[in-house]
Every structure is written in structure tokens, then in C-alpha cells.
């Protein structure tokens, strides 16, 4: 297979909306897989694909020249999610019983705990005083009020 025929998206195994971070992460995974012989693509091909996609100008050209593995309705992506094939870990949910922890009895000196705290202050936000100050700051401040001079 010629890498130009496949295009960088297929070589890295990512969709066309993959971010640069996805490209980098997938590049690492694909390189390892290639090293393990799990991929037909060579490390050079993978390197080439990465370079193509991390360059914005080359990426749009590559996008125009690359196959779409999914159709417009996104059915393939939907199936990938349904069959839990997005991650490397198993898709099934294992049973995970909580181990029986042996927890020691705890003794805490509550009086000392309370004594550490200072006595809280009583709230002193009397609304009347705040209102007075607010009113005082607003009264008689019309620039053209006739009583501005207290006449």
C-alpha cells in the first residue's frame, strides 16, 4: 500500500476532526503498535502522517485528499461507541466488591476541639444604619437642586 493512497488519517487511525493532541497521542500508540508488529504501516509512514496532520496547511490538503471511513450520518462512530471500542481497556464492567476494611475506633476530644474555636461575633449589620448611610449618600445630591446650599 502506498501511504499517499491511504492518507495520514487512515495511517494514524483517527477521524478528520481529531485535535493536535489526539494526533500526538495516537501517533505514540500507533508507533508502539507498529513496533509490536500489530500494524502494517511502518514507523516512517506513521511519522509522515503525523507531520502531515500537525501542519495546518498540509492538513487541509490532506483532508481534501483523504478517504472518509464514516458516512455523513456518523453511523460508524456510533457503533464504535456502542461496542465500547474507543479505549484499550475492556469494555465490560467487572464486579468490584468493597473489601471489608478494619477501621479503628476513633476517639476525639470534642471539648478541646470546640475550645480551639473563638466565640463567634454577633452580626451587627443593622439594616437601619446601612439604610441611613445609603440615604445620606444620596440625599440632596442633584446638581441643580435649589436646596443644595441649604438655602
Amino acid at each position: 500500500m502506498i501511504r499517499e493512497d491511504a492518507g495520514p488519517f487512515l495511517i494514524l487511525g483517527i477521524d478528520k476532526d481529531a485535535s493536535d493532541a489526539n494526533v500526538e497521542a495516537q501517533y505514540e500508540l500507533r508507533k508502539s503498535a507498529s513496533h509490536r508488529g500489530e500494524l502494517k504501516w511502518s514507523a516512517d509512514d506513521i511519522e509522515w502522517a503525523r507531520d502531515q496532520l500537525l501542519n495546518a496547511d498540509r492538513r487541509v490538503v490532506a483532508d481534501a485528499d483523504s478517504w472518509n471511513t464514516d458516512i455523513a450520518s456518523g453511523d460508524v462512530l456510533r457503533l464504535i461507541r456502542l461496542y465500547r471500542m474507543e479505549n484499550t481497556s475492556a469494555g465490560w464492567e467487572p464486579l468490584d466488591p468493597e473489601p471489608p476494611a478494619e477501621l479503628p475506633t476513633t476517639s476525639i476530644d470534642m471539648d478541646a476541639l470546640v475550645a480551639e474555636l473563638p466565640l463567634p461575633d454577633a452580626p451587627l449589620e443593622l439594616p437601619a444604619i446601612a439604610r441611613w448611610l445609603e440615604r445620606c449618600g444620596a440625599v440632596g445630591l442633584d446638581p441643580w437642586s435649589p436646596d443644595v446650599f441649604g438655602n
Binding site: 491511504a6 487512515l10 460508524v76 475492556a90 469494555g91 465490560w92 443644595v148
Partner: protein
């Protein structure tokens, strides 16, 4: 038989005859019957004698004889009634005799007595008597109208018939003859009740007219005219009354012309007595006049006198109708008829003068002038005018006549006489025409007279002007009149300024005079100022005194404000413009100009006016204050404060104190509390008694909790002096902090008297008690007060919690504080206390073996930020005891690990901690904790396996699960996990055994069924016997488990096996198709597309669209472009389009060299690209740029020669 019959007949006849005889006898001898057999009784004989007496005329003896016949002891109703009738006859005879003797009252009494006895109606006698009395009355009026008997007769009539109109009328005539006008008027008022007779109305109207009550006269005479429309006497009187009353002169002319015409009074000149017939058929006078000649006490029947009166009245009416010539003609008729009275001569002179016949008028006016004392202003005026205009004199005498005319004109006090004023102006014009100079005395008199008549025409103005020339001491009234005239006409003369100055020198008097006459003083003053400023721009008039500038400016400014308030902006602008022209540097004017500029948003003008103000009044703080307030309004608080501070420096005394307070308020509004406090302090030092500064200082100290400062203010709080109860709140706090509990309590009491502050005062009282450690009293105060929902109630809860905390009652504290909103708790620093209380409560619940409640309170303590090294442990213990899963969170897990060090915890506890780390995604910590375990249990192995599974290390996971299984062989979790691990690994046989074992152990039947089916499906040799019994529900459950495996090879294998076992199941076949898609994609992904293409040839049905597209890609990648095109073409949707497949087609055709088809597909790709194709997140132009690449290629293709 016949004999018998005859006998019987004879016998019957005899019997009948006898019966008839007896009846006749009885009828004769009955009482009252034929008195043949009765003897005449003595009483009957007495009655007969009495009748004989009456017949002789002695009614009194007869009446007495009749009365003696009554027997009181044995009354005989029949005879008594006869006696009564006889008495009636006696009295009636007596009444006739009284009437014959004209003793009407006696006759009336006797007739009423007779009527009573004879049963006749009383009214009949009254009417007869009244008629007799009236007849007598009329006779007396005709023969001797002044006789006193008339009054008696009238009284008699009124006694018979009260308020008799005709009687009253004749009585009125009698009074008139006697000269008793008031009595006559009263009687006429009584008589006028006869609404259909004109006589009373005529006489009353005439009488009222002569008594100078013309309005009443008109009313009566109109009534008379309505009743007698053809009576010339009424025409004369009504016409005269109309003129006198100032009524309709035209009507008067019509009436009087009729009266003086051929069908009027003249017609009765020879037969004056006949004039009464004109009063109509109902007239009493007409009726009487027909029988005897009668006179009139008012002389109405004297035709000549009436005619003279009619002519004079007609002439006057014609004058009123501005028909002076006609009036002169009528007067002349009177004059020719010998009527040379003052009235005629004066009227004739005036009419002739008014008709401009001054030569003819002059002798009559002079004659009238000599007779009239004092002469009327009109007579004087016309005499002067006739003198001035007389042409019958020698030219040499004209000047003298003119001087005489002026003298005549000014000798009379003619103030208020409009005609005089009009004539006088003409005389003045004549004098001016003749070049006759008015003497100062003439002018003064004329001017005063003009002023008094509100004359404001050109002549009056000229006169005033002349006077202003000559008079050094110009009278105020002249100046007032001129100002009034000049303002009214908007006219001016040479001495305009002098006259205005004179008037405004006494501005208050002028204002009062204008007000009395309801003239517009403001307009006059504006005229004054307008005229002044035209001559003297830039300053106010000096004449009214040095203070006038300020007064006039204030007046103008007030007028501007009124105009603005009344929505008359143009007027306001004009007045303000006047003020500015008069005083371009005056403060009030500049202030208002700046205000108006500010209101229309012209900031440059505002600055200019305020600058001018400051420049010309450098010591005036006000422009700075205005500027500062504008800046403050515009959000420039710093600049505002700066300017106000400067203003404060410039001001002094109380104004400075007020400015300081204002500046403090601005600082408050700008939240510049330090400056506000400083300014309040300065203001207070200037005005120690002022309330605002001390309240402001205290409020600021309170708000920043500066209790030392607040305590130091205590001596400054005086008793009383303000009604602001908030001041009492602050005073209470101040006194309490200063240790003056008594004053504090007093102020609290004052504050509590205000319903709006009662709750806050109670709260403050509780706070003060709390400060004084009187916590019980504080609680009682709070308990006794009602606090509405809102901030105050939250404060009360906070204080109650604080008091509870202080008392060691943490539970109550927690309950009170739990009522607060989280924001409030945080703001008041109660979160720590609240959290500690919650923790304490949770611990108590745990100790009381209520772990579920403990979990809740401990969670609340954690949520409120409570930190304690053992919180996580306590919480975990509570959860464990409550059977709840361990708490999530790496931080909590770390706390647990810290309080449970490796050497003190069991292997299972380590597994428990590792599990929490793993579930939080902290695989590294989980691995570390598990590595520390020296003697692993199956839980440790299980956790290790799960960790490996999560990391995709299937082999390690299998090993760990097997280890766990060795320690706990019959554990469902281990078997289950091991089964799926083997399945994922593709080790189907082992997986089948594990599933079977797991199914045996699983307690849930449904899960058992699924596990059993998976066990049957996994091995290479499928257990068809078991799978044959599958139901559609089983299909779905099994497929769901298969979909979770996450390994496509395993999934495809299982689904292929299932499809073989369940070939008819739609869901199974659908799942298999989906598996093919994923498998194909997986092969392409791994770079093995040819495997998919090869496998596809064996698949029975045509591939679905996603699969066809994938196979197309596989073919394209492998260079098999025709096959690729085939797959892509078959994958296109039947409806609409698919841009992604179009792109694949375009790529395939391009690589095939078919540029024509390629262009077609590229174009269709571009159409659907924005909607169908994906783009990286955050790159909005990505698709556009891809499209641009394609469009560029298309352009290139268009220019290239096709290959």
C-alpha cells in the same frame, strides 16, 4: 146562588167603605195632620206672635221672643229647629238693616249668625260683604281719595277676605295721595298678587322708578306691559326705567317712540280720563274710570307731563344708542315745547356737542353750566370742547376760549369719568392744534384725571410725557398710569425712561397698585427692564435703588422657572436672555444658564458659565459645588470631592458646615468612608448641635466596628434635638460601649417606639446584653420580639446560635445556624463553628449507634469546610456501619491512608484504600498501596486484577483473578471477572467454564440465564441445545453483554455463532451486520484492508451503507479504484446526498484520471461539506480552508486541458 152572590158583594162593599173611612180619620188626627181636631199650643201661639214682631221690623224683640219659646227642661227637636230658623230670619233682617246703615262689620257678624242658624255657607255672606265694601271703596276713591274711611274700608275688606288685591290697590292709591310712599309700596306689593290685572304693576313700577330703584321698576313695568301691551303710560314708564337701569336702550327707544308718537299719549290729550281704558278690560282703574272721572296720585293721567317725560327719556335713550343727532332733535322738541328745565338744556347741549354742533351746543351748555351745581364732568368736558371748537367767535377770542376751555376742563374732579376723559383728550388735541401751551397745573390735573380713568391711548401718553418734561416732582400716579399705558400699548414717548424710573422707584407701591387694578405687573417690569437694557446693556436699573438688581434678577429667574414648569420653554428662554443681558456676570443668572445647559447636555456651556461665575465671584463657593455635584453625578467622585473640599475652604459659618456635611455625603456615596468621617467631624465641630454629623460619625464607626470610637462619641449625643430614631440606635450602642447602661436603655426605648425600628432596637438590646454577659436576658429580649422574615430574622438566628454556643449548647447552636443561608454563615464567620458543631453532632450520632444520621452530619461538617485529621476515618466508619459505600475522593482517601499507616492496617484495609484510589482514577496510588501488602488476601488480588484490567493488562488481570480464585474459590465476583477476562482474551473455552461457574454462584436468576447463554455461546462447539431455547429477550440481553466486550474479533466470533443459532432473529442479524462494519474498519485501521475485501465476498447480503463505504475505502487504499467506485456509488443515500461519500467518489475518480466525474463529485462535496463533514474543535475556518483547496483544484481543472 145569585142572591148569595149579591149578598156577599154588598157585604164586601160595606166593609171596604168602612175601612177607607177609618184610614182617612186616622190621617186627619195624626200629629201634624189636619189640625181640625187639634188645639193650638201656647208655644205655637208665641211663635206666631214673634213672627208678627219681625214683620213690624223689630228684629231684636222678635229674636228675644223666639228665644223664650225654647223649653230647656223638655226639649222638642222639631219645634226647636223651627225656633232656630226663625232666629236666623231675625239676624238676616238685622244684617240688612246694618248694610243699609253702612255698618259692614256688624252686618257681616249678623249675617254669619243668620247663616249659622239657617244652615247657609259662610263664604256666600263674605263674598257679598266684600263686594259691598269694594263698591264703597271705589266710590270713595273716585269722590274723596284722601278720606280716612278708605283705610277703614280696606281693613274691613281684609278682615272679610285677607290680602284682597283690589282692596290693597285702592288702599295704595289712598296712601299715595297722602304721600305715604312706603305704605303705598307695601300695599302695592299685596295688590300685585292679582296676576292678571296691570294696575298694581304699573303703579309699583312707577313708584320704584321714582324712588331710584330702576331695576325693580323695570321688572314690575315689564309685567304691566305684558298685561296691558297698548298702554302709553306703561311705555313711558318702562322706557324711562330701562334707561335709568342701564337696560336695553333700543327697546327703550322703541317704547318711547310709540309713547310720543301719534298713537301714544297724544291720542289722549283731550280725554285724559280715557287713558285708563288702555290698561285693558281687567283693569280696576279702567272699570272705575268708566263710571266716574278719577285722578292719579302719581300724575300718570297728566298727558303733558307724561309726554315731556317721554321726550326726555327718548332723547336720553337715543344718546345711549349713539344717535346724538336724533336725541338733539327730541330735546329740541321739548325745548320748543317750553321745557327749559336743566335736564333738557343740558341734554340738548350735550347732544349737540356730541353731534359736533358745538356752536349750537354752546349756549345750552353754558346755561346748564350755570344751573347745575356742581356741574357734571361730562357737562364740563363738552362745554370745554364746545368752547375749544366754537367757530362762531372771533379768531382773536379763540385763544382765550381755548384757555377758558382748559380751565373749565380742569376745574372739575373728573377722575373715573370715561366720557370726560375722551372729551378732554379732544380738547388737548385742539389746544395742541392751536399751539396753546398747557400750564403745569392743567397738565397735572389732566394727567391725574387720565390716570384715574385708566387712559392709555396716545393722547394720554403724550400728556404724561409732557408732564414728565415739566415736573421735577413727577407724581407717582402719573408714572403708574404711564407704565400701565406704555405696557398695554407697547408704546413709548420721549420721557419713557424717566417715567418708568419714577414708577419703579417705588416698586412695592407700584406692584400693589397693579395688583389692585388686576394689571400685569410682571409684564410691566419686564418692559421696564427690556427698555432699560436696550439703553444700558450689562446692568440693572439704578433708579429703584441699589438692591433692585438682586430683586429684579430673582424675579426674572423665578419667572424662567415658572415658564419651564408651565412648559413654555420659549418664554423662559426669552426671560433668561433678558436676565443675561442685564447681568451677564450675576450669579443667579449664570447658575440658571449653567443648569439649562446641563439639562440639554451642553457640557462646554456648563463649564463656561461656571467659569464665568467663579471668575466674577471668586469667593463664591457655589459654582464649585455645582461643578462638584455634576462631576459626582458623572461618576467622577474624586474630582467632585476635590472641588467640594475647595468650596468648603471658601465657605464659612453655617454654610461651611452644610457644605462639609454635603461633601461627607458624597464621600459616603463614593464609599470613601475615611474622608466622610473626617468631613462629618469638621462639620460637627462647626455646628455641634447638628444631628447629621454626629449620626454620620457614629454610623461609620458602627459599620467598621470601631467600638472605641463609637464609645468616645457618647458625650456628643444630646437628649432630643432630632426625630431620627436611627440616631437613638447609634446612641444606645455608644452609651452601652461607654458603660452608661441607663442612657443606653433610654435610647433603646426611644428607638423601639418607632415601629419601623422596633425589631432592630430589640436586637441591639440583646446584643448589648450579650456584651454585658447577660445572656438569659438577651434570649428573653429576643423571644419577646417578633422578627419578620428577612435579614433581621437571620441575624437573630445567628445571635441565638452564638448565645447557645456560648452556653455550651452546640446542638441548639447548630440548629439555629442551620436556618441561615450559606452566604450569611460564611459572611458572619460561622462556617467553622457550624461545621464543628455538625462534626460534634455527627460524632454523637455515631456513638449513639445511628450511623446513617452520623453520615449526614459528618458530610455537612465536611461540606462546611471542617478539617480534622480523623474526619475521613470517622466518616468512613459511619458509612461502613450504615452499609453505605466508601466515600469518594482522592483527598479523603489520602487522609484515610495517613491515619491508617501500612504497619497498622490489615491487607483488606489496604485493598479498600487501593480500591478507592483506583475508582478515583489514581492508579499509581492504588498500585503503591497494594504493593505495600505483605500478606495479600483475595481482596488484594482482586483489586490488583481490576487495576490491571483498567490498564488494559489482560494477562496480569487473569493472573490476579486466578490468584484470588485460589484463595476464595466460590466467589461470584472472581468467577465473573475471570470469565469476561478470558472472553476478552479470546480464550472462549476457559471463558465458557468460568461463565458456567459464575452462573452457578450468581444469586440473580436473570444474570444466571445470561451467564449460562454466554457459557453456551463461547466454546468452539456451540451448545445449540441451550441456545435453541433462547427467546427474543435473551437475544437482546446476550447481545448487550457481547457489545460490552470491547474486542471486535471476539464480538464478531460470538455474534457469528449466535447468528447460526438464531438465524431468524432480526436483532442478532442486525448486531452481526454492525460487527462486520466495525471489523472492516478495524482491518483498515490495522492496515489490512484486503482481508476485509476478501471476507466481503463471502457475506451473503449487499453491504449496508456504512459497510459499503468502508469497503470502498478498503478498495481505494488497495488501488482497486473501480471496485472502490462501485462500493461508494452503492453507498450513496437514495434521498438527499452524503458529502463524505461524494468526497470519496471525487478522490477515487480523480485518481482514476476521470476529471469530469471528479469535478462533478467535488462540487457535490462542496455543497454538503459544511453540514456533513467534521472539523477539529476550535478551528472555525477549517472546513472553509478545505473547501478552498477543493475550489482551487476545480479552478485549475477548468483551465487545464482534459487528459
Amino acid at each position: 146562588m145569585p142572591a148569595l152572590l149579591i149578598h156577599l158583594i154588598n157585604y164586601g162593599t160595606l166593609t171596604i167603605s168602612l175601612a177607607l173611612f177609618i184610614c182617612a180619620l186616622l190621617w186627619v188626627i195624626r200629629p201634624g195632620g189636619v189640625p181640625l181636631l187639634v188645639r193650638i199650643s201656647p208655644r205655637e201661639q208665641g211663635l206666631r206672635r214673634a213672627r208678627k214682631l219681625l214683620a213690624t221690623g223689630d228684629w231684636q224683640a222678635a229674636f228675644a221672643a223666639g228665644g223664650q219659646l225654647r223649653n230647656a227642661k223638655r226639649p222638642d227637636p222639631h219645634f226647636d229647629s223651627r225656633i232656630q230658623n226663625f232666629e236666623g230670619d231675625c239676624l238676616y233682617r238685622a244684617a240688612e238693616l246694618s248694610l243699609q246703615g253702612r255698618r259692614y262689620a256688624e252686618a257681616l257678624e249678623l249675617m254669619r249668625g243668620a247663616g249659622d242658624r239657617l244652615g247657609l255657607p259662610e263664604a256666600e255672606f263674605d263674598k257679598r260683604i266684600a263686594e259691598l265694601l269694594l263698591a264703597e271703596l271705589r266710590r270713595r276713591i273716585a269722590s274723596d281719595p284722601k278720606a280716612d274711611e278708605i283705610r277703614r274700608l280696606a281693613q274691613e275688606i281684609n278682615r272679610v277676605e285677607s290680602a284682597h288685591p283690589e282692596g290693597s290697590f285702592w288702599l295704595a292709591l289712598h296712601h299715595l295721595y297722602a304721600g305715604r310712599m312706603d305704605s303705598a309700596r307695601e300695599a302695592l306689593h299685596d295688590a300685585i298678587a292679582a296676576a292678571r290685572v296691570p294696575d298694581p304693576a304699573l303703579y309699583l313700577g312707577t313708584l320704584l322708578l321714582r324712588q331710584d330703584q330702576p331695576n325693580g321698576a323695570v321688572e314690575c313695568l315689564r309685567q304691566a306691559e305684558d298685561l296691558a301691551p297698548e298702554c302709553p303710560i306703561i311705555w313711558v314708564q318702562l322706557g324711562t326705567a330701562l334707561i335709568t337701569a342701564g337696560g336695553d336702550a333700543n327697546t327703550a327707544v322703541q317704547l318711547l317712540e310709540k309713547a310720543t308718537g301719534p298713537n301714544g299719549l297724544v291720542k289722549f290729550a283731550k280725554t285724559p280720563n280715557a287713558i285708563w281704558s288702555a290698561l285693558g278690560p281687567r283693569s280696576w282703574l279702567a272699570a272705575l274710570a268708566r263710571r266716574a272721572p278719577i285722578g292719579c296720585p302719581l300724575g300718570l293721567e297728566r298727558i303733558e307731563e307724561s309726554l315731556a317725560l317721554a321726550r326726555r327719556s327718548l332723547a336720553a335713550a337715543l344718546e345711549l344708542c349713539d344717535r346724538s343727532t336724533d336725541a338733539a332733535t327730541i330735546y329740541y322738541q321739548s325745548y320748543s315745547a317750553g321745557d327749559h328745565t336743566l335736564e333738557v338744556r343740558k341734554g340738548l347741549g350735550l347732544s349737540l356737542s356730541r353731534s359736533s354742533l358745538h356752536d349750537d351746543a354752546l349756549p345750552h351748555l353754558q346755561a346748564a353750566f350755570e344751573q347745575e351745581n356742581p356741574p357734571s364732568p361730562a357737562l364740563m368736558g363738552h362745554l370745554a370742547l364746545s368752547l375749544a371748537r366754537s367757530r362762531a367767535i372771533k379768531p382773536a377770542d379763540h385763544m382765550r376760549h381755548m384757555q377758558h376751555a382748559l380751565s373749565v376742563l380742569t376745574t372739575v374732579d373728573a377722575r373715573g369719568d370715561m366720557e370726560w376723559a375722551r372729551v378732554a383728550r379732544e380738547v388737548v388735541l385742539e389746544a395742541k392744534k392751536a399751539d396753546v401751551d398747557l400750564t403745569p397745573a392743567h397738565r397735572l390735573a389732566l394727567a391725574r384725571a387720565f390716570a384715574a380713568t385708566d387712559a392709555h391711548d396716545a393722547v394720554a401718553l403724550e400728556t404724561y410725557d409732557h408732564l414728565a418734561n415739566d415736573e421735577n416732582t413727577l407724581p407717582m400716579e402719573i408714572a403708574v398710569a404711564y407704565v400701565r399705558a406704555a405696557t398695554e400699548n407697547n408704546a413709548r414717548v420721549g420721557n419713557d425712561e424717566k417715567l418708568f424710573d419714577r414708577a419703579f422707584r417705588e416698586r412695592e407701591l407700584l406692584k400693589r397698585l397693579f395688583a389692585e387694578h388686576k394689571w400685569n405687573f410682571a409684564r410691566a417690569e419686564r418692559q421696564y427692564l427690556e427698555r432699560w437694557v436696550q439703553r444700558h446693556p450689562g446692568r440693572y436699573p439704578d433708579a429703584p435703588g441699589p438692591l433692585y438688581g438682586a430683586i429684579a434678577e430673582r424675579t426674572l429667574i423665578d419667572e424662567v422657572r415658572r415658564c419651564v414648569a408651565d412648559d413654555r420653554p420659549d418664554d423662559g428662554r426669552a426671560v433668561l436672555d433678558l436676565a443675561f443681558r442685564l447681568g451677564p456676570t450675576r450669579a443667579l443668572t449664570l447658575d440658571l444658564l449653567a443648569e439649562q445647559a446641563d439639562r440639554r447636555g451642553d457640557h462646554a456651556d456648563v463649564a463656561q458659565y461656571l467659569d464665568t461665575w467663579t471668575k466674577h465671584h471668586p469667593h463664591d463657593a457655589r459654582p464649585l459645588v455645582r461643578r462638584a455635584l455634576i462631576e459626582r453625578r458623572d461618576g467622577k467622585a474624586a474630582e467632585a470631592l476635590e472641588h467640594l473640599t475647595d468650596a468648603c475652604v471658601m465657605a464659612a459659618g453655617p454654610q461651611r458646615a452644610k457644605l462639609l456635611a454635603m461633601t461627607a455625603r458624597i464621600a459616603l456615596a463614593a464609599q470613601n468612608y475615611e474622608v466622610a468621617e473626617e468631613l462629618f467631624g469638621q462639620s460637627r465641630s462647626l455646628t455641634p448641635q447638628a444631628s447629621e454629623p454626629i449620626t454620620g460619625l457614629a454610623a461609620l464607626a458602627w459599620q467598621r466596628r470601631d467600638f472605641d470610637k463609637l464609645a468616645s462619641l457618647a458625650p456628643l449625643f444630646n437628649r432630643g434635638g432630632t426625630t431620627e430614631t436611627v440616631r437613638s440606635l447609634l446612641a444606645a450602642a455608644s452609651f452601652a460601649l461607654a458603660g452608661d447602661d441607663i442612657r443606653a436603655a433610654e435610647e433603646i426605648t426611644i428607638a423601639r417606639s418607632d415601629p419601623a425600628l422596633a425589631a432592630e432596637a430589640a436586637y441591639l438590646r440583646a446584643v448589648i446584653l450579650n456584651w454585658q454577659d447577660k445572656d438569659d436576658e438577651a434570649c428573653i429580649t429576643l423571644d419577646l420580639t417578633t422578627f419578620d422574615a428577612g435579614p433581621m430574622r437571620e441575624m437573630v438566628h445567628a445571635l441565638r446560635g452564638q448565645l447557645a454556643w456560648k452556653a455550651g449548647n452546640f446542638t441548639d447552636a447548630l440548629l439555629f445556624w442551620s436556618e441561615l443561608s450559606p452566604e450569611r454563615r460564611a459572611a458572619w464567620g460561622l462556617n467553622r463553628h457550624n461545621a464543628a458543631a455538625a462534626f460534634r453532632y455527627g460524632m454523637a450520632e455515631l456513638a449513639a449507634d445511628r450511623p446513617a444520621e452520623a453520615v449526614e452530619w459528618l458530610g455537612q461538617a465536611r461540606a462546611n469546610g471542617f478539617h480534622h485529621e480523623r474526619l475521613a476515618l470517622v466518616e468512613a466508619t459511619a458509612r461502613q456501619r450504615a452499609g453505605q459505600p466508601a466515600v469518594q475522593g482522592t483527598e479523603q482517601t489520602r487522609q484515610l491512608e495517613a491515619v491508617l499507616p501500612p504497619d497498622s492496617r490489615s491487607a483488606n484495609t489496604s485493598a479498600w484504600i487501593a480500591r478507592m484510589y483506583r475508582r478515583d482514577g489514581d492508579f499509581e496510588s492504588a498500585r503503591r498501596v497494594l504493593a505495600d501488602v505483605t500478606t495479600p488476601t483475595w481482596h488484594v488480588a482482586m483489586q490488583s486484577g481490576l487495576l490491571a484490567l483498567h490498564e488494559g493488562r489482560l494477562d496480569d488481570a487473569e493472573r490476579d483473578f486466578i490468584t484470588a480464585k485460589e484463595q476464595a474459590p466460590d466467589t461470584i465476583a472472581i468467577e465473573y471477572n475471570l470469565a469476561f477476562t478470558h472472553l476478552t482474551q479470546g480464550r472462549h473455552e476457559e471463558a465458557a467454564a468460568d461463565f458456567e461457574r459464575a452462573a452457578e454462584l450468581h444469586p440473580n436468576p436473570e444474570a444466571q440465564r445470561v451467564l449460562t447463554l454466554l457459557a453456551a455461546l463461547c466454546p468452539r462447539t456451540v451448545r445449540r441445545d441451550i441456545l435453541a431455547a433462547m427467546t427474543p429477550v435473551d437475544d437482546q440481553r446476550v447481545i448487550k453483554r457481547i457489545q460490552q466486550i470491547g474486542r471486535i474479533d471476539t464480538v464478531l466470533t460470538l455474534l457469528q455463532s449466535l447468528a447460526q443459532a438464531r438465524p431468524q432473529s432480526g436483532v442478532v442479524l442486525q448486531a452481526l451486520t454492525e460487527a462486520y462494519v466495525l471489523w472492516t474498519r478495524n482491518l483498515i485501521d490495522r492496515g489490512e484492508p484486503e482481508v476485509a475485501l476478501a471476507a466481503a465476498t463471502k457475506w451473503p447480503a449487499a453491504p449496508a451503507r456504512p459497510l459499503g463505504n468502508l469497503l470502498g475505502v478498503a478498495a481505494g487504499v488497495t488501488g482497486n479504484r473501480d471496485q472502490a467506485l462501485q462500493y461508494f456509488q452503492s453507498s450513496l443515500p437514495t434521498a438527499e446526498d452524503d458529502a463524505r461519500i461524494q468526497q470519496n467518489l471525487a478522490i477515487a475518480t480523480t485518481r482514476s484520471g476521470d476529471s469530469g466525474r471528479a469535478k462533478h463529485h467535488w462540487k457535490r462535496f462542496l455543497v454538503g461539506q459544511p453540514a456533513h463533514c467534521p472539523a477539529p474543535a476550535g478551528d472555525a475556518n477549517y472546513l472553509f480552508r478545505v473547501g478552498e483547496v477543493v475550489r482551487q483544484r476545480l479552478d485549475d481543472c477548468m483551465t487545464e486541458t482534459p487528459r
